[in-house]
């Protein structure tokens, strides 16, 4: 009775996205954070406690765990980051972790320290375009060059480098140029997320893509991925399944309520970073309590609850759209995905 209930269709891996700070040295226009003050940021001892809770929970469920440590900019709180990574590296249930950073604070010394963490799989940075002007329009002046330098530094030091792009109307035509550039730079993986107008990004509501535009961008990403040409393009996001439902590597169920949780800088737990509905606190609550009793999570788990055109869709077993997108656009996390083109 100790392993995770198979009936929930949980994969054999559980994922935590962990924002250890809200502080950031960039002010990207599409950012999902609403503030950068990092009020009530947790202490190192509280972070360690959460790490231990994650480990014991995963062991109880007899399931492997992966983490993404991020912020804000995680290297803004290096005094906490490195001891925490040291601790995470020692946790038995964690198979690997990734660092999500803007890359601007990385240097040779930091990478040398990171080398010691055997469970560090990838360092992910973000770029929004294959050209400086467009990228910097979104992420701020100088960010393109800094990110490119970070990628080169990572590759020079034999790290796996990942790049993420957030797709909006501003950069919808930039997928191919960016992927071409990343191949030349030796980047290992590329992934794309749809822009969700929330937090600071609410100001870019007009840059939200129409369903047909999303379809065009997704087809372009899918086509690049199928080339398998020097860079791994990750397709496990909602709606990709619509392009090829028979391939399990294409598309994925929204992880909210299924196999992931997000922990914020103050310990607040969300179903997903992009679905900012508080469902508990990682310091004061057990993950068991949150995972087993959250009404939001149970609503998400039952496909019968999903409304609109999602409800009668053939793809419901493998795609329920992005619940965060539904929430941001309609206020109802169970509404149909407003960007679905079906």
């Amino acid at each position: 009775m100790n392993s995770f209930p198979d009936e929930l269709n949980i994969e054999n891996e559980f994922y935590f996205q962990w924002h250890i700070t809200e502080k950031c040295n960039l002010r990207c226009k599409h950012c999902y954070h609403a503030a950068y003050t990092s009020a009530n940021e947790l202490s190192l001892s509280e972070l360690i406690l959460i790490g231990d809770k994650i480990d014991s929970t995963l062991k109880k469920w007899d399931i492997d765990g992966t983490l993404s440590i991020t912020g804000g900019e995680p290297f803004m709180v290096m005094d906490k980051l490195f001891p925490l990574l040291q601790h995470i590296n020692s946790l038995e249930a964690i198979t690997h972790f990734d660092l999500l950073t803007n890359g601007s604070l990385l240097d040779e010394g930091i990478l040398l320290d990171l080398k010691g963490f055997k469970k560090l799989r990838r360092v992910q940075v973000s770029l929004e375009a294959g050209n400086r002007e467009l990228n910097d329009q979104i992420r701020g002046n100088g960010s393109f060059e800094k990110t490119l330098s970070a990628i080169r530094l990572l590759k020079k030091n034999d790290f796996q480098a990942a790049v993420m792009m957030t797709i909006s109307n501003i950069n919808k035509n930039e997928v191919e140029p960016l992927v071409d550039m990343l191949k030349r730079e030796g980047v290992d993986t590329f992934s794309a997320e749809r822009f969700i107008p929330e937090g600071v990004g609410s100001n870019l509501k007009d840059e939200f893509l129409a369903p047909e535009e999303v379809k065009n961008v997704f087809e372009s990403i899918y086509s690049l991925a199928m080339k398998e040409d020097g860079i791994r393009i990750l397709l496990y996001r909602p709606l990709f399944a619509l392009l090829n439902g028979s391939d399990p590597t294409v598309g994925a169920l929204c992880s909210a309520g299924n196999n992931a949780l997000t922990i914020m800088h103050d310990g607040t737990i969300y179903p997903c970073r992009r679905l900012p509905i508080p469902i508990g606190n990682a310091v004061t609550d057990s993950f068991y309590k949150v995972w087993y009793t959250s009404k939001v999570l149970w609503n998400l788990r039952n496909p019968v609850n999903i409304k609109g055109k999602c409800s009668g869709c053939d793809f419901i077993p493998i795609c329920r759209g992005c619940r965060a997108m539904a929430y941001a656009l309609t206020g109802d996390y169970l509404a149909e995905d407003p960007q679905c083109w079906r």
Binding site: M1, N2, F4, P5, E7, L8, T57, K60, W61, S286, Y288, K289, Y292, T293, W298, R301, N302, V304
Partner: protein, 100 residues
């Protein structure tokens, strides 16, 4: 097997949480302290729901016989076995006489 009287009343142990998705015919019991979790069939889950309502065992058994098409003698045996299983797993406990 623990001795179970028809006049006994049981309650859920603290930190036990019941959850079902009827449409999927899925029924779970969770211990939010220890992380233990159990999947049950509809009948066992129904009994737990009645226990959660603080109903005496004899009332639950009576409703059980009314709701499910089962042989009474066999039902009593099965019922007792299920209750014992819940007790053994620490899902329920006997309500003391002076407990409200």
């Amino acid at each position: 097997m623990l001795e179970i009287e028809q006049n006994d009343t049981f309650v859920l142990e603290e930190n036990i949480f019941l959850q079902k998705i009827s449409e999927l015919e899925k029924y779970w019991v969770f211990n939010i302290d220890t992380g233990e979790h159990y999947s049950f069939n509809e009948t066992s889950y129904w009994i737990l729901e009645q226990i959660a309502e603080n109903l005496p065992l004899k009332n639950i058994l009576k409703d059980f016989l009314g709701n499910f098409d089962v042989d009474e003698n066999q039902a009593k045996v099965d019922f007792e076995e299920i209750i014992n299983g819940f007790l053994t797993e620490g899902i329920i406990k006997r309500r003391e006489k002076d407990e409200k």
